[in-house]
């Protein structure tokens, strides 16, 4: 007998920690590594991804009864590309400097496996309410991951958080943290930490 599909609440909660897109599923690694040198670009990327993910989830769920199995990936891709283009144009119009700073990474949301995987796993199979909850939960999980990595990198690499100085002037900033190797180091260490905490919780219960 097939297992019952998760409820809206389960979808929402799963996206934040238990099935976190970055720390559990290792999805969306490109923006995770590329735009987490500081909090502002990281959260802008998280917001753009959330817009695309939630809109795509809603729309795919609305038309799920009309999808042909062999054409579904095409429909997913068209839908995601449309919302990514809208997000990209809005950033260029209203947050121009941030749009320049993020460069090609906003158009690259199209290639973020997180979004197409949610279309395939959840929204093409479940109701609009569940798809919305899934989109919001996964978006929060993605934002949480980006923010945690960006916090470590910006504080250690620049001595600031959201551009505000948080480390004393005598503290030497670690330049490597804002460079690409710093992204890999922090991601690896935080992945290990999340895994260790999860393992400890599992063994203690």
């Amino acid at each position: 007998m097939a297992a019952a599909s998760p409820t809206a609440l389960e979808r929402f909660l799963n996206g934040i920690i238990p099935e976190n897109p970055v720390y559990r599923q290792l999805l969306g690694m490109c923006p995770v590594l590329a735009v987490t040198g500081a909090m502002k670009p990281a959260l802008t990327m998280a917001a753009a991804t959330a817009f695309v993910l939630i809109c795509a989830n809603l729309l795919i769920s609305l038309i799920r009864g009309l999808l042909k199995p062999h054409l579904r990936i095409l429909v997913f891709t068209m839908t995601i590309a449309t919302f990514v283009t809208i997000a990209d144009r809005f950033l260029a119009a209203f947050l121009y400097d941030m749009s320049k700073e993020l460069g090609p990474y906003v158009p690259l949301i199209i290639a973020n496996c997180l979004i197409i995987s949610r279309c395939e796993i959840c929204s093409s199979k479940q109701s609009v309410g569940v798809a919305l909850a899934d989109g919001v939960g996964m978006s929060l999980g993605f934002a949480l991951a980006l923010a945690s990595i960006a916090t470590v990198r910006e504080i250690l690499g620049s001595g600031t958080w959201f551009g505000l100085t948080v480390l004393p002037s005598f503290w030497p900033t670690w330049g490597i943290m804002v460079l690409p190797p710093g992204a890999f180091l922090v991601l690896g260490l935080l992945l290990g930490l999340v895994e260790w905490i999860g393992h400890r919780r599992a063994t203690s219960t």
């Binding site: 590329a34 038309i63 009309l66 999808l67 042909k68 054409l71 095409l74 429909v75 068209m78 839908t79 449309t82 283009t85 809208i86 144009r89 809005f90 260029a92 119009a93 209203f94 121009y96 320049k100 460069g103 090609p104 990474y105 158009p107 690409p180």
Partner: protein
């Protein structure tokens, strides 16, 4: 005899009608977004251009910069910036030029001195080169390699330190992007030299036309 294609065509439509419908809807939505946001994005780009003009032409001030229409390389009227210092003395030009990069179109601003003999600065207005490699064409360290180069010598790319006046050292791992920038600069200078020198001659005789920057 029945057209053998008819059932097949009907089957295609039955299969693909949703894709076609969504294509129309998404296309319409994107056209609407583009129509409503394009003026604002163009304004942002203009402001960015004006902000970098003092860096592209030393001594130039935004308030004295004019956007002029010239018979450009394509034959039609094209716009370039005629810069001036605080006293209103004409001191250079800023060209808008574009060309194909490694990944997509690269759009540049090229600062030239008044005589159109020396490159005074280059700025990347838009690019989508490979992150972490080709996108270093935006960095000041790379763009400074063009500053002071003669407009009379074709620029070329070398992988080691330049030994000749027209040589630009390539970015590591991004030789194609480096060549693309050099080619855009070479082509823009070549195409704009005569129109600008003609314009200078006509200015001297008092027949220039300048537009007001919005």
């Amino acid at each position: 005899m029945m057209d053998p294609e008819t059932p097949k065509n009907r089957n295609y439509l039955q299969q693909a009608w949703l894709v076609l419908l969504l294509g129309f809807l998404y296309g319409g939505a994107l056209a609407g977004v583009h129509t409503s946001l394009a003026p604002r994005i163009a304004e942002n780009r203009l402001q960015e251009t004006l902000n970098v003009i003092p860096d592209l032409v030393p001594g130039a001030v935004i308030q004295q910069t004019e956007l002029i229409s010239l018979a450009g390389p394509g034959g039609g009227l094209e716009r370039i910036y005629r810069t001036a210092d605080a006293a209103g003395q004409h001191n250079g030009w800023v060209l808008v030029a574009a060309g194909q990069g490694f990944a997509d179109r690269i759009e540049l601003l090229i600062g030239m001195d008044r005589q159109f003999t020396t490159i005074t600065g280059v700025y990347v207005l838009d690019q989508k080169e490979t992150p972490g490699l080709g996108d270093y064409i935006r960095d000041a360290e790379f763009l400074d390699r063009f500053r002071g180069k003669s407009a009379d010598i074709l620029l070329s790319v070398v992988k080691m330190s330049p030994s000749l006046p027209g040589e630009i050292q390539a970015l590591t791992g991004a030789t194609v992007s480096t060549w693309a920038v050099c080619d855009i600069v070479n082509q823009a200078i070549d195409q704009w030299r005569d129109p600008i020198l003609d314009q200078q001659a006509s200015t001297a005789s008092g027949t220039s036309s300048a537009d007001e920057i919005p």
